[in-house]
């Protein structure tokens, strides 16, 4: 059948069925819009969450002292296990599963620069702490290094917000300045590049100050650290890394390596995996809603095509009497449904795209991330729409094509 006539017939049908066509197209339009928007926002949100979760670092284990809950080799339970810096160093040299490790020792201290005085958390750490926690020094500054640690230097690295609090407008000139930490002079060596982080166990990194752990211990004559942070190698799971830590330290402190209470461990990967699953489920849920809307639209299309079929039975009969084959009738119907879904779908997609392009201007990135559609999403959406159109069209089309010419003509 020639295209011009098909399109003419389509337009003619649609004119006679204005409201119904409009509503059906709207159904498809809305369904497409909903899917695309929900998908895009779900993705943006997930990515934003992932990014800020990464602010805590990837593959991170945090280990605190604990109290044994099992007897071991004639030793009673209830013994306190407190790893020292030497133990952390020992782990660094011997644990196969770990990439980086650093003790952490911290408390609130008074930081003073000029007239600004703030009570903030100061953390004593090793140089590799910044690698694990994705702490990146701003241009021209640096994190604590090995000589700082060995010489117990009085140097300090500031979280970006803390630096702003202390230095205000002159924050760019902060490096090299002296500040007072609990009345002791410290030299600022670096400021953190701002990062997103939604997860912490003692304050966000951007409000924290870091000093060499050795300096910290000298200041307070402490031998034990509060905890240590370890980053396991990506090829191992957090659980395997935990087991190795328990085995090595269990040997030294003579506790049962299966005694989960001997050390308190937070495996942040676990939470990360959970978050990933959660957001995947969340996105699927959103897409599911959009899909349901689309299905409703598709049922509308089937409905309208059934009405069209009823109205057009006579025309089908005429065409058959003039030599139209079944397939010709079939394709004409499918063509029309595809056209309805196509127009509705394209409009829905365009609208959703418009919304998505406007969103970044609203400065809501921190809360909802940046909604995005990728090429694959678009292709999948088109296929889905095509499928919906085809399924919606095929049943009325087959009904039409299987009529006997004379039934369609109602000649009697």
């Amino acid at each position: 059948m020639n295209i011009v006539l098909s399109v003419r017939q389509f337009l003619n049908d649609m004119r006679r069925q204005k409201l119904r066509t409009a509503m059906t197209m709207f159904g498809i339009f809305w369904g497409t819009c909903a899917i695309v928007l929900l998908f895009a926002f779900g993705k943006g949100l997930t990515e934003a969450q992932m990014k800020s979760q990464k602010g805590m670092g990837e593959n991170i284990l945090i280990v605190w002292p604990g109290i044994t809950a099992k007897e071991f080799n004639g030793l009673p339970r209830g013994r306190r296990i407190r790893p020292t810096d030497d133990d952390v160093r020992f782990l660094k040299q011997n644990a196969q599963t770990l990439a980086h490790i650093s003790p952490e020792n911290g408390r609130h201290m008074t930081l003073k620069y000029g007239r600004q005085t703030h009570r903030r958390f100061v953390d004593g750490v090793w140089p590799e702490y910044c690698i694990m926690r994705n702490i990146i020094p701003q241009f021209g500054s640096r994190f604590i290094n090995e000589p700082d640690l060995q010489n117990r230097r009085r140097v300090i690295f500031l979280g970006d917000i803390l630096a702003g609090d202390l230095f205000g407008d002159s924050v760019s000139a902060a490096v090299g300045k002296r500040i007072l930490v609990n009345s002791m002079p410290f030299t600022v060596i670096g400021i953190m590049k701002s990062k997103e982080q939604n997860n912490s166990y003692r304050g966000r990194d951007n409000r924290t100050a870091y000093i060499p752990n050795t300096t910290y211990q000298a200041m307070f004559s402490e031998r034990h650290s509060d905890d240590f942070v370890a980053q396991h190698k990506p090829q191992f799971t957090g659980e395997i890394a935990r087991q190795e830590i328990f085995r090595i330290l269990g040997e030294k402190y003579r506790f049962d390596p299966t005694d989960e209470e001997a050390l308190a461990v937070w495996d942040t990967t676990e939470g990360f995996a959970f978050l990933k699953t959660f957001f995947m489920a969340f996105s699927s849920f959103l897409v599911g809603i959009g899909f349901a809307t689309l299905i409703t639209g598709a049922i509308g299309v089937t409905n309208i095509m059934n009405v069209v079929l009823e109205e057009r039975t006579k025309e089908i009969g005429i065409k058959m009497a003039l030599g139209a084959r079944k397939s010709t009738i079939l394709w004409q119907f499918i063509f029309e449904t595809l056209l309805i879904t196509g127009v509705g779908g394209v409009l829905g997609f365009a609208f959703a795209y418009g919304v998505i392009s406007v969103v970044p201007m609203l400065n809501l990135e921190e809360f909802i991330g940046i909604p995005t559609i990728d090429g694959w999403g678009a292709i999948m959406m088109s296929c889905l729409l095509g499928l919906v159109g085809l399924t919606a069209g095929i049943f009325p089309a087959r009904r039409a094509a299987n009529l006997q010419p004379v039934q369609a003509l109602k000649l009697f």
Partner: protein
């Protein structure tokens, strides 16, 4: 010369719910090539039913129907569609033009199904429009034409692929006598050009112009098939 249509013991049974109705009860009809035949009979005698079977618009219940030597019962739906497209041309009482299409486009339809392309198709449509005296109405839609003009478009459309057989079911039924007369004149010309013409009619003067009259009564042929 062999008959172009050969029907033996044709029966057509309609089933409406639990009620069955035998519209044709064992009909034998032969139509020779180039013949002109009128089918007459009272309302409900089965004339249209017979015509639909002849033109492969419907399937028979039992019997044997050979069209141009081919046993119709055994053909596929595509083969039947091609017969309707090329071998027979239909003219209906109700014209049955597509309402949204112009005269030109209506005539074009069978050519589209036959995949006649481009200039050939345009030429053929123009030729047919002239043939039925409607060259100036090419762009008119059915609502913009008189009954006689619509029926002439329908005839042009029936002739599109130059079929051997023209089947007309009360072609003048909806027309006044003047335009009806023009239609009959057209059929006579076509017959003279060698087409086989079968017309259902209630009009004795039209039936009188054909070579042969078949009279149906209660689904059977009344008499020996030629009551002239």
């Amino acid at each position: 010369m062999s008959a172009i249509m050969d029907m033996k013991q044709i029966r057509k049974v309609y089933q409406t719910g639990k009620v069955t109705f035998e519209a044709l009860r064992g009909i034998d009809i032969q139509v020779e090539r180039g013949e002109s035949v009128a089918v007459v009979g009272p309302s409900g005698s089965g004339k249209s039913t017979l015509m639909n079977l002849m033109g492969c618009l419907d399937v028979l219940t039992s019997g044997e129907y050979k069209l141009d030597g081919e046993l119709v019962n055994t053909l596929t739906s595509n083969q039947l569609a091609d017969i309707r497209n090329k071998k027979v041309g239909f003219v209906f009482q109700a014209f049955n033009l597509l309402p949204y299409a112009t005269a030109y486009e209506n005539i074009e339809i069978p050519l589209l199904f036959a995949r006649v392309t481009g200039r050939k198709r345009r030429q053929r449509v123009t030729e047919l429009l002239a043939r039925v005296g409607l060259a100036d109405k090419a762009a008119n839609k059915p609502t913009e034409m008189s009954g006689g003009e619509m029926q002439r478009v329908a005839i042009a459309r029936a002739l599109a692929n130059d079929p051997e057989i023209i089947l007309a079911d009360e072609p003048t039924g909806n027309l006044d006598s003047a335009s009806g007369g023009e239609i009959v004149k057209l059929f006579n010309e076509l017959w003279k050009q060698g087409k086989t013409i079968i017309i259902i009619t209630h009009d004795a003067s039209i039936a009188g112009q054909t070579q042969r009259i078949i009279r149906l009564k209660d689904g059977a042929v009344d008499g020996n098939g030629d009551l002239r």
